[in-house]
Every structure is written in structure tokens, then in C-alpha cells.
């Protein structure tokens, strides 16, 4: 009864080429530059990724994609995390393109996916609600009209809205009868009813508040024909969160390496601080957390890739990894102490980005609730007692 977590030879090659690619385009200087920039988006490396076929992974060849499986994305995300590359691939490929594939009509897929795979169209989803939760948002509604839909509302923490061509706007029907259902709409960011406001944030990521005021879209800009796209979107988001886990693991590995190196080099009291058991405990704690996050993530990714039931394992992996991320970075700071409190040290680049990953697409608590649901812990009487669904 032995489990094999190793990547295949093909995936090892993808891993190696991802490492050398992101080493080149995403040095810590490049990361700082993007953090200080207006849009936080590097068009050159995006075009290079398109050329490598990485924007088309999971998209069928006849729609301009490069095929490839979910697991093939794992090593790329590990390296994106390790090098703190922009998180744009997650939004455009892992969520928007995946949603179009899963929910969209054949015509919509033909219209959108080839351009996305070529790097010519940036579509970003609006997953976070105006309150900072996930999914359906009372503040984002649509009304059905003769020729299409009228969208109103606001959502926050939308990544890369300032660079996007389109938003994949998630909204619920304006009438009470259908509360809770969710649909996705393609919104042109150039539409005059769209206003985008950058949100200054701890992670220095390009996150925006987006307001829609009477934005009218065609029938054909509603994704798919299913009445409630909520469950399908929830799956897409959960799968994307597993990929985001890989970023956390990739970054965590680098942070562990940095911390071990520092503990070996930094001398106090006539010896390397890595000799002190207090420091060894902090570091071994980091490794144990990192390793658990890695194995839970690989299991979830494996199950998604194989098309077998994965929600419980994915929710567990995501809840755990978000919490582990916080612990790993906190302990790294404990080892580095004073010098990593200073702006120009590399560690804060990681710990600040980690805070974004810990919260994006939902926080650990959100995914713990998913685990509880998958474990069947949410009893009827529990729901009544708490008075909330």
C-alpha cells in the first residue's frame, strides 16, 4: 500500500522549463517592479507564456489549446509560486477559461478560447463578493431584458481588473424568487457603466473594486444556458484553489530554503543559530507544514486529474494549505527576526504575497465549512440553531 507522489518524466520536464522561465522573467527585482507598477501585469512574459502553450493547457486543441491535463499545471504553479510570478494565469486560464469550457456554449467557446490561449484576450473572473466572501453576492444582480441582461452592483478584490479586456461577472437574479442562483456574464471593461477602482492592499497585488451601473450585455454574453451555474462555478473555483495551493507550496519551499541557509550562516553566541533547538523547532515545524500541504495538494490534484470524486480532498487540501501558509511565513520571520522586518529583505515579498493566497478565492474558514459539509457534519438542527444556511 504505497502512494506515489512523484511527478512523471513529462511533468519533470515541464517543471524544469517552468523553473528556468520564471527564474528569467520573475526575479525579485521584477517582482518589486510589478508591485510598484499601476497594473501589476507583465505583457511580455504573458506573451512568452502564450508562446509556450501554457495559456492553452486544458483547452482542447481544436479550440486553440495545447491540451495538457490538470496535473500538468501543477509544476508550473509551483514555480510561479516559488518566483512570485503574477497570479494572472490562475484568473484567466484556471478560472475564466475553465468556466467557459465547463459552462459556455460551443459558440462561446469558439469565440473566446482561441484568443485566450493566444494571450490576446484577458478575461478575469469576479469570484469575491462585496463582503469578502465567495460566490453569489446580494450586491451583484442582473435583470433579464428583451435583448439581453442589465447588470448592476459591485464586487471587490477582483484581480487584474485594470488590465482585463473582459470580466467574467458573476451575478444573481434581481428578483427574490431565484435568490442564490448564479450566472456568469462577459462584460467589456471598456463599457462606460464599468468603473474600476484599485484597492491598496497588504500584498501589493493589483486588486480592484468593480462597480457596474446599468451595464447592458447581449443574450450571448451570458455564459451557457444552464439556469444556475453556481455549482459548476464552485467546482471551477475549488479546482483553481488547488492550483493556488501549488503556488503556496512552491513559495513555501523557497522560504524554507532561505530560512535554513540563514540559520546556517547567521552566527550569534559563537555559533550558527541553526544549532539552537528553538530555531530547529521553528524550521522543522515549517517543513512538517510544507510537506503536509504538498501531499494534500497532490492528492487533490491527482483526483481532479483522474476525474474521481475530489471535493472532500480538495477542500481539505485548500483549508490546510492556507493555514499552513500563515504558520510557515510567521515562523520564517521568527528565525530571520530583525533583518526581515526591513522592506528591502526578500522574505516580506513572500509573506505579503502569502496573505493574498491565504484569502483569495476564500479563506481557510470557508474551505473548512466545505470540509464539514463533505463530512456530513452540517445537521439540520445545527442549521436551525444557527439560523443561517
Amino acid at each position: 500500500m504505497a502512494l506515489d507522489f512523484a511527478h512523471t518524466e513529462t511533468r519533470k520536464i515541464i517543471h524544469a522549463s517552468a523553473r528556468s522561465f520564471f527564474e528569467r522573467v520573475s526575479s525579485t527585482e521584477a517582482v518589486r517592479k510589478l508591485e510598484a507598477s499601476d497594473h501589476g501585469h507583465d505583457t511580455e512574459s504573458w506573451a512568452a507564456m502564450a508562446e509556450l502553450g501554457w495559456l492553452g493547457i486544458g483547452i482542447p486543441r481544436e479550440l486553440g489549446g495545447s491540451e495538457g491535463t490538470f496535473l500538468d499545471m501543477l509544476p508550473i504553479y509551483e514555480e510561479m509560486g516559488r518566483h512570485l510570478a503574477p497570479n494572472l494565469h490562475l484568473e484567466v486560464v484556471a478560472i475564466a477559461a475553465a468556466a467557459i469550457l465547463r459552462i459556455g456554449t460551443a459558440a462561446q467557446q469558439r469565440r473566446l478560447l482561441p484568443a485566450i490561449a493566444r494571450g490576446e484576450m484577458l478575461v478575469v473572473p469576479t469570484v469575491m463578493t462585496a463582503e469578502g466572501s465567495v460566490g453569489a453576492c446580494p450586491a451583484a444582480t442582473y435583470a433579464t431584458e428583451p435583448s439581453g441582461y442589465r447588470l448592476n452592483g459591485r464586487r471587490i478584490l477582483v484581480p487584474y481588473a485594470g488590465s482585463a479586456d473582459r470580466l467574467l461577472w458573476l451575478a444573481s437574479p434581481g428578483d427574490a424568487a431565484q435568490t442564490g442562483t448564479l450566472s456568469a456574464f462577459l462584460v467589456d471593461t471598456g463599457d462606460p457603466g464599468v468603473s474600476i477602482q484599485r484597492l491598496p492592499n497588504l500584498a501589493r497585488q493589483p486588486l480592484y473594486e468593480v462597480r457596474l451601473e446599468d451595464v447592458v450585455v447581449d443574450r450571448d454574453d451570458r455564459l451557457g444556458t444552464v439556469e444556475d451555474a453556481g455549482p459548476l462555478l464552485a467546482d471551477v473555483v475549488l479546482e483553481a484553489a488547488v492550483l493556488q495551493n501549488a503556488c503556496i507550496v512552491g513559495a513555501g519551499r523557497r522560504v524554507l530554503e532561505m530560512t535554513v541557509d540563514y540559520a546556517k550562516e547567521r552566527h550569534q553566541f559563537g555559533q550558527a543559530i541553526g544549532r539552537f533547538q528553538a530555531v530547529q523547532y521553528l524550521i522543522t515545524d515549517m517543513l512538517i507544514d510544507l510537506h503536509r500541504a504538498d501531499r494534500l495538494t497532490r492528492q487533490a490534484a491527482y483526483r481532479i486529474d483522474r476525474g474521481i470524486p475530489y471535493r472532500r480532498e480538495a477542500a481539505m487540501a485548500v483549508a490546510f494549505t492556507k493555514q499552513a501558509a500563515a504558520r510557515i511565513h510567521r515562523k520564517a520571520h521568527e528565525v530571520f527576526a530583525g533583518i526581515a522586518f526591513i522592506e528591502d529583505h526578500d522574505l516580506p515579498l513572500f509573506s505579503r504575497r502569502s496573505k493574498y493566497w491565504e484569502n483569495h478565492l476564500g479563506d481557510a474558514g470557508f474551505f473548512e465549512n466545505l470540509v464539514a459539509a463533505e463530512m456530513g457534519l452540517n445537521s439540520e438542527s445545527a442549521i436551525q440553531t444557527e439560523g443561517s444556511p
Binding site: 500500500m1 502512494l3 546556517k264 524550521i283 497532490r298 483526483r303 474521481i308 464539514a372
Partner: protein
């Protein structure tokens, strides 16, 4: 990558045979036996017999060569046997000295292998471990029991302690110092095999808080012939303890053209307890509502489930990075934290050990008391130091 469990028709045949054998041979009242935490006579009487019967099937040491009493099973087949034994909570007696089998396979002379292995595989020989001393626990290499050559025999003198279950065993493996002048303490240690019915060996009981019995063992010039030395003289620490060198332990390949299908093994260990705890929280009420309605309890159950799942994955990892110490540290710490969390979920009624009012038939009480035995085989702190070293942190 393969994070699944796979079986074949032939493996399922084996599973069926083991399962049916257990249905015949293991009555429910003997399920859940732990050799290290059980001292009731009727349980031991049953298990001595059960162990011999298991040995007669070849299932005590199925991966061993046939000439030593094994069945030459591959690891996959042995895993099926293990799964079924675990599923029924069948006791294992080999746990007492389970290291001795591999030690003999690697380092034993042919005579030693022929003399001991078949009896072990048949369930006749049980090994006690004479390693730890009052002054040598985590720092085992500082042991002081000595073995001196008198021209005809090795004479072993010293005191061992915490020898779990030694009073149930018939043989003991003893770590002794054979070269007191060696520059490094690790370079003068040897391992010997001795029968426990030797008049110069005296056992004194140490009863632990988890209902198990350990022993102090006094060795008063025990006479051991030279052919009961295992491995090279003075190289015991490296060869036996650190598992360096010796012959490769024979492994038998899994040969089965049958189609593979996926399966999910039933949860065992903490996973199984957790499932029972979830059911308990659903089926019992506190202050007028089911325990499971309490969001704090749900949150705790979720955390326990995630940590238990992570542990399961790492336990079965075919290629663990940084060696066995990573899993070992995690498992010890999980054992303690899990037991603590179980008790917190039960609350005050968790104090009740027996009778109608004891939650989960007292199984959490036992789990909790046993969790303080998580130092066995090396404390988690030592394992952490080993991991630190494997990471390259300085000694």
C-alpha cells in the same frame, strides 16, 4: 503519480481468504487487542493460540523466504493481509520485537536464521528488546550494560528498563558494551540473543498508566555463547541500530496479470476513531441539542479530519523525503494532539472509563492514556533533531 489504492482479482481472493479465516478465528470480544497495553490473562491466552494459528497460515511473516517460514509474498500481498488484520482489530504479537526479523535477515548467520526465523514465523518465538537503561534512553549509545568474554561465553551484566511485554516473551535481544575503551561510545556496542528463561535474568514489573506492563531487567552475568552475537563485534550500533550494511533483505516481486481496479481501504487507526466520534456527536445531545450542532465541535472535527488525512498520506508515501524521521515525528505529535482533541470533544463524560455511561465504550479513555506512550521508539524531539540534521542544520 498514483495517490490511489489498487487491487486485482487475485489480491481480492487473498483478502477474502484472510477475511474468512478471521471471521472463523477471531471472536468480537478479542478485537482491539494491543500487546503493549493489555495484561488480562484470558486475552493473552487467546492470543498466544491465535498467533500460532496465524503463523500456521504463514501470515505472521508472509514476505519472508519460504525456507524461513514465510510465503514469499510481495509487499502488495502482505499489505492486503495487514489491511484485513487492521480492519478486524486483530492483535499482533510480533510488535514486541518486530525489529528482530529484519535484523536477522540482514545480519544473521545462516545458522541463526535457521534457528530463529521459522519459530518466529510460526508464532513460537517472541522477542523482548533489552536496549533502554535507566541512564540511557534517548541517549541509547551511552548504555552501560557490559558483555565480557570469559574464554567460553560472553557474560552480560547490567540493567535494562522499560522493556515492554518482556514477561510475555521467550527470547531477548540485548545491546551491550563490548569495548569500553573505544574512543566513541558508539564504537563499542554489540547485540546478543539470549533466552529469557535464563536463571541469571530477572524481571521486575513496571505498570504504566495505559494498562500495559513494562519491565526492569537485571542481567547478572548472563552466559551467552558466541554464536548468539548478531552482526560484527563492536559494530552493533552501526549495523543493528543505524541499519547500515548487512545483506539485502530478500523481496519478492508482485506478479499478477490481473486487471487493476481502484479501491478505498476502510479507515483504521485515528481515522476510524474519528468516524466513531462524529457518529457519537450526531447521536448524543448536550443542553438539548446534538453535540454536532456546536460549531466549535464541528470546527474541531474538521481540523482532526484534515490532520488525520495528511498523516495517512505521509504514512503510505513510497518515497518520503528526509527519511523516516519526518513521518515518525508527525505521527507522535499527531497521536498526542489527536487524543487531546478527542477528550475535549467528549468533555466531562470522557472521564468515565467503563459501564453504560462511558462514551465510545471507554475507547477514548484508553486512546488518551496510551498517547502518553508516544516516546516509544524515540521521542518526537529526537526525530525533530534528526530532521534538522537531514535539512543540513548543524549539530
Amino acid at each position: 503519480m498514483n495517490v490511489s489504492y489498487w487491487t486485482t482479482p487475485r489480491l481480492e481472493d487473498l483478502r477474502k481468504r484472510v477475511r474468512e479465516w478471521l471471521d472463523r478465528e477471531l471472536p468480537p470480544e478479542y478485537e482491539g487487542f494491543r500487546w503493549d497495553f493489555e495484561e488480562r490473562d484470558e486475552q493473552w491466552a487467546f492470543y498466544r493460540e491465535f498467533w500460532r494459528k496465524l503463523g500456521a497460515q504463514g501470515w505472521i511473516a508472509p514476505t519472508w523466504p519460504k525456507r524461513y517460514g514465510g510465503l514469499e509474498y510481495s509487499r502488495r500481498e502482505a499489505a492486503i493481509v495487514d489491511e484485513e488484520l487492521d480492519r478486524r482489530g486483530a492483535g499482533r504479537l510480533a510488535g514486541i520485537g518486530e525489529a528482530v526479523g529484519p535484523i536477522l535477515l540482514r545480519l544473521g548467520t545462516e545458522a541463526q536464521k535457521e534457528r530463529f526465523l521459522p519459530g518466529m514465523a510460526a508464532g513460537e518465538i517472541l522477542w523482548a528488546e533489552g536496549y533502554t537503561e535507566p541512564g540511557a534512553g534517548s541517549d541509547l549509545a551511552s548504555l552501560r550494560t557490559k558483555a565480557e568474554w570469559d574464554g567460553e561465553h560472553w557474560r552480560i551484566t547490567g540493567q535494562k528498563t522499560f522493556c515492554t511485554g518482556a514477561h510475555h516473551c521467550n527470547w531477548i535481544i540485548i545491546a551491550a558494551r563490548t569495548d569500553p575503551k573505544a574512543a566513541r561510545k558508539q564504537d563499542g556496542i554489540s547485540f546478543f540473543l539470549a533466552p529469557l528463561d535464563d536463571p541469571r535474568i530477572t524481571l521486575y514489573p513496571l505498570h504504566n498508566i495505559a494498562d500495559g506492563r513494562q519491565n526492569q531487567i537485571f542481567l547478572d552475568g548472563v552466559k551467552v555463547p558466541h554464536d548468539q552475537l548478531v552482526g560484527e563485534l563492536n559494530r552493533g550500533w552501526q549495523q543493528v541500530w543505524l541499519k547500515q550494511g548487512g545483506a539485502a533483505i530478500p523481496e519478492f516481486p508482485f506478479v499478477d496479470p490481473g486487471p487493476e481496479t481502484e479501491y478505498q481501504p476502510e479507515p483504521t487507526g485515528p481515522g476510524k476513531i474519528l468516524q466513531r466520534l462524529v457518529d457519537y456527536c450526531r447521536d448524543t445531545t448536550i443542553d438539548g441539542r446534538p453535540r454536532i450542532a456546536d460549531p466549535q465541535i464541528r470546527a474541531r472535527l474538521v481540523q482532526m479530519a484534515i490532520e488525520t488525512e495528511a498523516l495517512r498520506l505521509i504514512e503510505h508515501d513510497a518515497a518520503p523525503p528526509y527519511g523516516p524521521a519526518l513521518y515518525q515525528a508527525m505521527e507522535r505529535e499527531h497521536r498526542a494532539a489527536f487524543a487531546q482533541a478527542c477528550m475535549e470533544i467528549l468533555g466531562p463524560t470522557g472521564l468515565i472509563q467503563d459501564g453504560e455511561l462511558a462514551p465510545l465504550a471507554g475507547d477514548i479513555d484508553r486512546l488518551y492514556r496510551r498517547s502518553f506512550g508516544n516516546h516509544a521508539g524515540g521521542t518526537s524531539q529526537i526525530k525533530r533533531l534528526l530532521i534538522a540534521r537531514a535539512l543540513g542544520l548543524p549539530r
